[in-house]
């Protein structure tokens, strides 16, 4: 798949073009090798500088990159014996949601994910990773199955949000998400949630109540899309980059706010530059946290998850008139 470059990478692209021109010089200059290595170093330095100072808006572009690895890309690279289960046993099968079991180092685990499409056609099938109520209910059914057989649950979050449509409303989109959030808070098995791209509001949280909530370095997790936020609060969607900054939705922000537990590093330039490396890093994080959680009793695990969310929020208490 073509790796289209981001606007903000332009300085790197310019240098790369310069390098290409240099290498094509005829006759080559005497100190070609020297010049090439100097230029290569400059390219690396420039890239690092850009990636060390990404704005929230730029991170969002990486998170939404069409070639970014999707849930199934991680499933296939990290786990074996992936067996997908289908349907909510009530209405239908939501292709935006994948749910099933697989092995992680020979240990059975439950996997739930939001699956975005790989291309236009696949996106039509996957509904751009935007779930309907039946998707949330399928996820809950499979999580209950994991609980029943004492298997840990691993959720991969990647959605712009729950689908806003007539059918979704008629079938209780809000109830489906609320129910999942409630039930996940009581699941008697370890739950690890990882934001691997877009963490789109309640649609993401509907499979996002975990003992550990992790985020990839260039993922984002937000109450509302910056475009939506800008069109309401700035009354103009073109202020989306401002809204992106104001919403504080990057992994670093969420770590500071105490909402996530760990930032999983990505290959330089983003997970799409090296899916194998990205998957190795995600797998490593899952193994580490799973080992910690497996050392706890089930009661401790349930209490740990409850306390994690009970604590989140900031306010102050002022004196009120007697």
């Amino acid at each position: 798949m073509a790796l289209s470059a981001f606007d903000f990478e332009q300085p790197v692209i310019d240098l790369e073009n310069e390098l290409k021109a240099l290498q094509e010089l005829n006759p080559p200059p005497d100190n070609l090798a020297e010049q090439v290595s100097a230029l290569r170093e400059r390219i690396e330095r420039t890239r690092r500088e850009i990636y060390d100072n990404l704005s929230a808006w730029q991170i969002l572009q990486i998170a939404r990159h069409q070639a970014r690895p999707r849930a199934l890309d991680y499933v296939r690279r990290i786990f074996t014996d992936w067996t997908e289960l289908h349907g909510d046993r009530a209405y239908g099968d939501d292709h935006a949601c994948i749910a099933g079991f697989a092995l992680l180092d020979e240990q059975p685990v439950c996997l739930i994910g939001q699956q975005k499409g790989l291309d236009v056609r696949d996106n039509a099938y996957r509904n751009y990773g935007m779930m309907h109520p039946e998707g949330y209910r399928k996820a809950l059914r499979v999580m209950r199955l994991a609980e029943k057989f004492g298997r840990p649950v691993i959720c991969l979050l990647d959605t712009a949000g729950a689908f806003p449509g007539v059918g979704a409303e008629e079938r209780g989109q809000a109830e489906a998400i609320a129910r999942n959030i409630l039930e996940m808070s009581t699941l008697r098995t370890p739950v690890i949630c990882i934001v691997i791209g877009e963490g789109g509001s309640g649609g993401a949280l509907g499979i996002g109540v975990g003992n550990r909530v992790l985020m990839q370095q260039y993922a984002f997790y937000s109450l509302i899309s910056p475009e939506g936020c800008a069109s309401i609060l700035w009354r103009d969607a073109k202020f989306a980059p401002e809204a992106a900054r104001a919403l504080k939705f990057t992994a670093r922000d969420l770590k500071e706010l105490g909402v996530i537990d760990e930032i999983i590093p990505e290959p330089e330039g983003g997970a799409h530059r090296d899916a194998n490396m990205a998957a190795r890093l995600v797998g490593q994080a899952i193994r580490g946290h799973l080992a910690q959680l497996r050392a706890m009793s089930i009661d401790e695990i349930v209490e740990d998850r409850f306390q994690k969310f009970r604590r989140i929020g900031q306010w102050e208490e002022i004196e009120t008139a007697p």
């Binding site: 729950a162 689908f163 806003p164 449509g165 007539v166 979704a168 409303e169 008629e170 079938r171 209780g172 989109q173 809000a174 109830e175 998400i177 609320a178 129910r179 959030i181 409630l182 039930e183 808070s185 009581t186 509001s201 309640g202 949280l205 509907g206 996002g208 109540v209 997790y221 937000s222 109450l223 509302i224 939506g228 936020c229 309401i232 609060l233 700035w234 009354r235 809204a243 104001a246 919403l247 504080k248 939705f249 922000d253 969420l254 706010l257 909402v259 998850r305 409850f306 969310f309 009970r310 989140i312 929020g313 900031q314 306010w315 102050e316 208490e317 002022i318 004196e319 009120t320 008139a321």
Partner: protein, 310 residues
């Protein structure tokens, strides 16, 4: 957070203005234009006797309508936002908050406490739409959580009255996490065998509906309230179609299986009392409601009525 077309017949005047109109004055129904005396209007709980239009009422007025006179004791009134993201849109969030506090007379978008319905105690929280569209940030989330915890502590039912456009954008991800905080406590209330009631009023959308608004053991709604996850405008933009008639109104939501009872305002209190009895609440005997307590409570409610002004 979702947003709404201004409905033709909805007035957004704060309730305080209404209550200042002297008795005997005439009012016009904002829906059918029927002329009603102020006395009839108040006695009918601000529902038009001719067309049944339910005028929006504030949290304090709702509490007066639902619980026994003088029985409400407020908790957590002093919780205020700290602007955790230091959010600035067209102006700083702190200024939005100050403005809302001035205009609504409340510190945030919910009023919580303990009260009694037909002498049976309950823990309740009533959302105030006049405060930033009833949006839920850290303060609303924490107050709902504490309201549920008071239910657990005193082993009484919990009622939340919803009126909200969703989560508060200016507190970003922290607002979103309140969905998890509140829902987890509803699970605990259920495990303790205590009932959780929800009353949905116009409008009830998004974040609150993807959490405590949808999780009632019994869910009541006022007639014609708009209830849903995504706002109508967002859906229209997504599907590029006109929405079906009555879409997201209480009656529509009930027909689709997500609301138990759509009730006119006058029936809310007796119905809640009946439900509380079904689920184990017992009316207090005369000796149980001590005079001292009653006195203190009525002082409290007088204070509340005073603070009701702008």
């Amino acid at each position: 957070m979702t947003w709404f077309r201004k409905r033709k017949f909805t007035t957004l005047r704060p309730p305080s203005q209404r209550s200042r109109i002297p008795e005997g004055m005439w009012l016009k129904c904002s829906n059918c234009l029927e002329i009603i005396t102020n006395k009839d209007w108040e006695e009918n709980l601000k529902v038009c006797p001719r067309c049944g239009h339910h005028e929006r009422i504030g949290a304090r007025e709702r509490i007066r309508q639902l619980v026994d006179p003088g029985s409400f004791e407020e908790y957590d009134a002093g919780l205020v936002s700290t602007d955790p993201l230091q959010f600035v849109d067209l102006k700083p969030y702190r200024e939005h908050i100050e403005e809302s506090r001035r205009k609504s007379g409340e510190n945030d978008a919910i009023v919580c406490g303990m009260g009694r319905i037909e002498t049976m105690p309950l823990s309740l929280g009533v959302m105030e739409f006049a405060f930033r569209g009833g949006s839920m940030g850290s303060v609303v989330g924490e107050k709902v959580a504490r309201t549920l915890e008071r239910g657990l502590e005193h082993r009484v039912p919990v009622l939340i009255v919803c009126a909200s456009g969703g989560a508060r954008m200016q507190e970003g991800i922290l607002s979103l996490m309140q969905l998890a905080k509140t829902s987890a406590l509803i699970a605990r209330l259920g495990q303790a065998g205590l009932p959780y009631f929800v009353l949905l009023t116009h409008p009830s959308y998004a974040g609150i509906m993807a959490s405590f608004g949808s999780l009632g053991d019994v869910i009541l709604a006022e007639p014609e309230a708009l209830i849903g996850f995504a706002g109508p405008r967002v859906i229209e933009q997504t599907i590029k179609q006109i929405l079906p008639p009555g879409f997201q109104k209480s009656e529509f939501v009930q027909e689709h299986g997500f609301v138990d009872l759509v009730l006119p305002r006058k029936e809310l209190r007796p119905t809640l009392a009946r439900l509380m009895r079904f689920f184990g609440s017992e009316p207090a005997t005369a000796s149980e409601t001590r005079p001292a307590e009653t006195e203190r409570a009525s002082e409290n409610s007088a204070r509340i009525i005073e603070s009701f002004g702008p």
